[in-house]
């Protein structure tokens, strides 16, 4: 899922000093699951903004809504009237949701309330970590199901570098596992260590963000 985190309140409030009517729109999919932008966080944001603006903009009226998936126009459509009736929309979705609202409602002022961080999974309750960098050319078959692009600090394809110590990455030994230790352990476990003997050639980054904004067209779904 997409993992995000709330922006600092002052950064959000700074954009709302002269707003009369604010509509906070949450998203009950990825960002709700990672406890950043679901209905509950929308309510917390509503209260926190009331408190933050109580001296500078006490008359602000805040309406709170949460919808199923903000990246889909169909789910956003019922909000059309309310969006028109508010000065500002504060989106608590990921960057995709924010842009969907902005695209769908061209005259609305839409601000983000979250910092969208990565594609990852919950390691345990309250802890999420990155797993996929969306490079557009999956290499997990070669590396025992551990991604060196997303999980090695230097995205090495012929790792590990010299900074791997006791299974940890030198960039942040407390929090980051050395992806190459994980790759080595996994391949050793499944009897595929020989895969690491080959020199992995430079990656074709054109399928990643480096090839420009990406689009997938499935011809049989398009008339």
């Amino acid at each position: 899922m997409i993992v995000a985190k709330r922006k600092p309140l002052p950064e959000i409030a700074a954009n709302l000093q002269s707003t009369r009517k604010l509509l906070i729109v949450g998203c009950n999919t990825c960002v709700a699951i990672c406890l950043a932008g679901g209905e509950k966080e929308v309510a917390v944001m509503g209260s926190a903004l009331h408190l933050a603006l109580r001296n500078t903009n006490p008359a602000i009226v805040i309406t709170q809504r949460s919808i199923e998936r903000q990246c889909e126009e169909e789910f956003n459509a019922p909000l059309a009237e309310e969006i028109a009736a508010h000065d500002v929309v504060l989106s608590m979705a990921c960057g995709v949701g924010v842009q969907t609202l902005a695209e769908q409602f061209p005259s609305a002022i839409v601000y983000p309330a979250l910092n969208t961080a990565f594609m990852g999974r919950p390691e345990e309750r309250g802890i999420w970590s990155e797993r996929c960098a969306g490079c557009g050319n999956c290499v997990l078959d070669k590396f025992g199901g551990v991604c060196p692009i997303a999980r090695c600090s230097k995205n090495l394809l012929n790792g590990p570098c010299g900074g791997s110590e006791q299974g940890k990455c030198e960039v942040d030994p407390k929090n980051i596992d050395c992806a190459w230790q994980l790759i080595y352990d996994r391949l050793s476990r499944i009897g595929q260590l020989d895969r690491l003997l080959e020199v992995e050639p430079p990656k074709d980054w054109s399928t990643s963000r480096h090839g420009g904004p990406r689009k997938i067209v499935r011809e049989d779904m398009v008339l």
Partner: protein, 131 residues
């Protein structure tokens, strides 16, 4: 009670609730500016409850949970403490001094302590008012 003078006590029914009942039984009602809100356990207390207490007009909020190891639901007091810390950070971001939210562990037999805690908690506000 004037706006902003209200103190909300947000507490676990098993410990703080017993204390409040004990005080009432002795004819020692909580001061008028104190609103007592009973929750079943420290686990119930989240940032939203605390922020809303302020939003509803409280100038101060005191969160009361059992001592660690005395919670009927094991981690409730730890949860309440962590949540209070998170709410305090959020209040600070909103420009409200963190000391206005206080977390205390309490046991059912501490009826003698609570009124004193409330008094001490109010001190800075009283000092402010008398200026």
């Amino acid at each position: 009670m004037t706006e902003g003078n209200k103190i909300v006590l947000l507490g676990c029914a098993h410990s703080a609730g017993e204390v409040v009942a004990d005080l009432a039984a002795r004819g020692l009602a909580l001061p008028a500016h104190v609103e007592w809100v009973s929750v079943p356990c420290g686990s119930t207390i989240d940032e939203l409850l605390m922020l809303r207490a302020f939003e509803s007009g409280a100038g101060q909020v005191m969160v009361l949970a059992c001592y660690n190891g005395a919670c009927r639901s094991v981690d409730g007091s730890l949860w309440a403490e962590k949540r209070a810390r998170a709410a305090r950070a959020l209040l600070e971001e909103a420009g409200i001094a963190g000391w206005r939210l206080q977390f205390c562990n309490i046991a059912p037999n501490m009826a003698a302590d609570l009124p004193q805690w409330i008094e001490e908690f109010r001190e800075p506000v009283v000092a402010e008012e008398s200026k």
